[in-house]
């Protein structure tokens, strides 16, 4: 799989349309989930997903394989695009303990353990800092290891573990202080 991916990346950097399509079809769903979890808006997430791949295409000639999967580079681009989106929208993810709760829409998934809907959880994640959001989404939503997350966000594994702890601690506090339900 690694060699095949490298081959596609090489062909895509040379302008091969088929290789570009293969990479898009493989990684677009994961990038969409990542961006959606952080933004909360489907349309914006869809636009940003294609924008991430367009940016990746422009930067392909400069791409260097350094032992990381191609997806790690895409996640980096996606994280930068999300931060730019926040800046443009003049929204900075904060640890405001009294944010407005989103209306319950879609098909909420209520678990016995925590009685949290996915939407509530996602909203709570958007209240974290950008770095905490990245760690939470990459570690728990995408299922990446500490090492992979560290390489994507450009920090050490120890820093990722600390970010993970602080992110979960802050999430717990946010959810505890919401009016209905709690941990």
């Amino acid at each position: 799989m690694q060699d095949e991916e490298l081959n596609w990346v090489k062909l895509a950097s040379q302008g091969d349309g088929e290789a570009v399509a293969q990479l898009y079809q493989r990684y677009a769903p994961a990038i969409f989930r990542y961006v959606y979890y952080r933004l909360g808006d489907r349309e914006t997430a869809e636009d940003m997903t294609s924008e991430v791949f367009c940016r990746a295409l422009e930067g392909l000639p400069r791409y260097q394989q350094r032992g990381l999967p191609f997806s790690a580079w895409l996640y980096r681009i996606a994280g930068a695009r999300v931060i730019d989106h926040y800046r443009r929208a003049r929204r900075r993810p904060t640890t405001d303990l009294h944010p407005g709760l989103p209306a319950r829409t879609g098909d909420p998934v209520v678990t016995a353990e925590l009685q949290l809907t996915d939407e509530e959880l996602r909203w709570a994640v958007t209240q974290l800092t950008a770095a905490q959001q990245q760690v939470v989404v990459l570690r728990f939503v995408e299922g990446l290891s500490h090492e992979e997350v560290a390489r994507i966000i450009g920090r050490s594994e120890g820093a990722v573990r600390v970010l993970q702890y602080r992110a979960l601690e802050t999430l717990r506090r946010i959810l505890q202080e919401r009016p209905e339900g709690g941990l």
Binding site: G15, A21, Y165, L168
Partner: protein, 360 residues
């Protein structure tokens, strides 16, 4: 407990397969244990999040957008290629202009004289060209060519003998080096450079004699020394040519020098004029057929000598054997124009006379 320690403990718990399935490796206090357990539950809840998938329509739309970006990149690259081609074309044009300018400058320098701006460039080009010429034959021809140039310069810039420093010595140096190079050539390759040497030294003699005539008295001795050396070289070239030439088989011809072309068949002999081709007489002089040795003779004097002529050396372009008084060195019958090169001398038919040919 510090946050970093808690973070490490939490990471260990998260790496465990289930919450509470195993005893923790290092049991903690109750409060910490409760905290870690709740965070572990929250992490598990996050991992169980169901997110909407990228719809097929959105996926297709995204792929179309990515392909458009790819096409734009290709178009930009081709535009860049066109721009690069235009830049390369401009650079090439500038290079050609500079090349032609440099070539033109070098060509213009070829006619420059000592004291002119381009003269040093002319000499540098000669030096460079000589350094790249290593074959003896080509080197000898090149050295003779440069010696001819020096001679032209001498004739142009020092008609009165007051030559720029080093010009005459450069001339001698070129000739001497040519002589050395010719001597290293195999016999079969010597003819052409020897003929060139012969013509050059003969022409040098003529020009030097003109200069000596007009030179101040204090310069004449040095010029005469140089003249003598060139005479010796002229004799050497003549002897060398004779050694390599087969026995003459045709009737005499007027002269070996200076003709427009030299052909081995035109061999001077001692035949008197009567045996020469009818209606043809040499209008230029140099050597009589017997090729008398050039020896030290008095400078040209207007006073005719009563002795029979022993040489036909003349500085003029024409010779009238009937009326010209005999002297070893005849003054030029006509004014010699000052030019870098002597006019080519040709045979012109002269009506035969009854006067015997003056040369032995």
């Amino acid at each position: 407990m510090k946050a970093k320690r808690k973070a490490d403990l939490l990471a260990e718990r998260l790496a465990a397969p289930e919450v509470g399935a195993e005893e923790p490796s290092s049991p903690q206090s109750g409060a910490v244990e409760a905290e870690l357990e709740s965070l572990q539950l929250l992490a598990r809840r996050l991992a169980a999040t169901r997110l909407p998938e990228l719809s097929s329509e959105a996926q297709v739309a995204g792929l179309v957008r990515v392909r458009e970006t790819l096409h734009e990149r290709r178009a930009a690259r081709s535009r860049r290629g066109v721009w690069m081609w235009r830049l390369a074309r401009t650079v090439l044009a500038v290079f050609l202009v500079l090349l032609f300018t440099a070539t033109g400058t070098v060509w213009a320098a070829g006619g420059s004289l000592p004291g002119q701006v381009l003269y040093p460039l002319k000499r540098q080009v000669e030096t460079a060209r000589l350094s790249l010429t290593w074959r003896p034959f080509a080197r000898s021809i090149l050295l003779l060519s440069y010696a001819n140039r020096r001679l032209d310069e001498v004739q142009a810039v020092c008609p009165s003998g007051n030559c720029p420093a080093g010009l005459l010595s450069d001339l001698e140096t070129n000739v001497q080096e040519a002589e050395t190079t010719i001597e290293q050539l195999p016999p079969g390759e010597r003819t052409v450079p020897l003929e060139g040497m012969y013509r050059l030294t003969g022409r040098t003699e003529e020009i030097l004699m003109q200069i000596i005539e007009r030179a101040p008295a204090e310069l004449r001795p040095a010029l005469e020394v140089i003249l003598e050396r060139f005479r010796n070289r002229h004799n050497w070239a003549d002897d060398a040519l004779k050694q390599g030439r087969p026995a003459p088989t045709v009737t005499p011809t007027p002269s070996r020098r200076p003709t427009a072309t030299w052909t081995p068949a035109v061999i001077p002999t001692n035949e008197p004029l009567e045996h020469w081709p009818a209606g043809i007489q040499p209008t230029d002089t140099p050597e009589p057929t017997a090729k008398p040795r050039r020896t030290s003779t008095p400078l040209p004097s207007p006073i005719p000598s009563t002795e029979p002529p022993t040489t036909t050396a003349t500085l003029g372009p024409t010779l009238e054997p009937v009326s010209t008084p005999e002297s070893p060195r005849l003054p030029p019958p006509t004014p010699t124009p000052t030019s870098p090169r002597l006019p080519p001398q040709t045979l012109t038919p002269v009506p035969p006379t009854s006067t015997p040919y003056p040369y032995p």
